[in-house]
Symmetry: C2
Subunit: 292 residues, 2 copies
């Protein structure tokens, strides 16, 4: 497998890890990394001596067969506007690694129409650390990478298969869903869990702190993610996040009602049903993951 | 260190693990395990051939120097009433392993007044598994065990030191706090996190399930705990749990307001502050734990 010239725009955790993975596996003829400024260049050069580093976006994409947007979501549109007319052909594959897809798709697809082949990606790989210093070649190993065709009943095979091969070749396991249901699903399994973890960590008192155990540490682990990055993710997916939060607020209010019930057995039976449902769903989840 | 005759009432995960730990470290002259029925006896005998097994509560406590209540909280009072007059002296140390302390202390302290030395314990050790089959001798290794003197400004050294030695000798790290603030602290770091993990697992949809990653699995891990056990824990600590839930509901509502804000930069700055506070608190927490 060889993807020709690959341009990675943004050498953060995801972009940097992608560069390391492509390089380690020898999957490119040429690897280009673009960054806004040269701050990270010496660190990158130590690990990737043969990569082309540039702050010139046109130079970065000019020869590319694949362009991967690894910049913050709110800067993607401006960046694509700058280089859309400088791609070498309309066969160039452009994708991104943003964790929200509907707004990205709406912003990018029209800009690249007839100028490139576009399909969004969301690698579900991360770490509570950020930046190139946290990048590692095995970040995508066994990670799910969600690819978001605009219409799953009419998937463009030409685009989808290249993108699938690309992510699989760096170790990812590829799944696909349309952009809008993608955003609802990730609100549920990633963005709202992040918020709840943050709520729990933020409200920790000095008394509570004394007695923290493994449970609290696990439950709040993701709250150590980058606040800069996560404020953008939560904002970009705000409508799905707010909607899922409503579900959890309602469950909290319902639970408070149960806890105020004057009939202990009835209250405990309702709480039991909720906990049992949660445990069963999680057990099924673990089983289905181990069966993969 | 030798604690003489130790009676463990209830051979579940905690009671079973305590028996295995005391046995493995040779800390008793005699180890007695009481259970409601004989169902678990053959399993226990395989791992602890020299232990005395009985379903007779009077026989269980008659020779004991230390009695440890490892039964569900709502059955503790009834059990203590049965054996309070059968202890060999008022120097016998009685403790429990319940995860809620104010109600236990209120129920048990009066029953044992002048009949035994009483102080509650809460070993912060557990597992998503339950029952004797999940018990292990190293369950308390490096676990925090909270001991709850009724008044920390007048701690009974005689009771506290024996109880501290007891838990330390099975590997625990002992902390202390009064029963009421204990319940508030554990609502915050254990009971409410359990509920939130359950809410997230219970509301998981089929679409979300497809894309679950390590973050969701960690955040919901504790939701795999025993619903039978946890419905009791949540009920027993209902007032502190409901109060802490209110804090988190308010944070959720506040976050929804931010996500609806028409000034993105202002909204993101508020979300950033919350996430930053959470991350910083968690970092301090990790640092203080590693420094122990």
């Amino acid at each position: 497998m060889n993807f020709g010239t690959v341009a990675i725009l943004g050498p953060g955790l995801i972009g940097g890890s992608l560069a390391l993975a492509l390089n380690e596996r020898g999957l490119t003829d040429k690897l280009v990394i673009w960054a806004r400024n040269e701050n990270s260049f010496s660190a990158i050069r130590k690990k990737l001596p043969h990569v082309t580093l540039t702050t010139d976006i046109i130079e970065a994409v000019r020869d590319a067969d694949i362009v991967v947007l690894c910049v913050p979501i709110e800067t993607m549109k401006g960046l694509v506007e700058k280089f859309a007319d400088s791609l070498k052909s309309s066969e160039v594959l452009v994708t991104d690694v943003g964790s929200v897809k509907e707004s990205v798709d709406n912003a990018i697809a029209p800009l690249l129409k007839d100028k490139a082949l576009w399909m969004g990606s969301h690698p579900m790989a991360g770490s509570e650390k950020s930046g190139f210093s946290a990048a590692r070649a095995d970040l995508f190993t066994k990670a799910t990478v969600i690819v978001t065709p605009p219409n799953t009943s009419q998937i463009s095979e030409q685009i989808f298969c290249r993108l699938r091969d690309f992510w699989q070749s760096v170790g990812g396991s590829v799944a696909w869903i349309e952009p809008d249901p993608h955003d609802i699903a990730v609100a549920e399994i990633s963005h709202v869990p992040h918020l709840l973890a943050a709520f729990m960590a933020a409200t920790l008192t000095d008394e509570g702190k004394e007695f923290v155990g493994k449970g609290f540490l696990d439950t709040t682990r993701i709250a150590s993610g980058s606040p800069e990055l996560w404020k953008e993710i939560l904002w970009d997916n705000r409508s799905a996040v707010a909607a899922h939060l409503t579900k959890l607020i309602n469950l909290s209010l319902q639970t408070q009602e149960w806890l105020k019930n004057t009939e202990p057995e009835k209250a405990k039976s309702e709480i039991y049903k909720l906990l049992k449902k949660a445990k069963d769903k999680r057990t099924q989840l673990i089983t289905s993951i181990s069966n993969l």
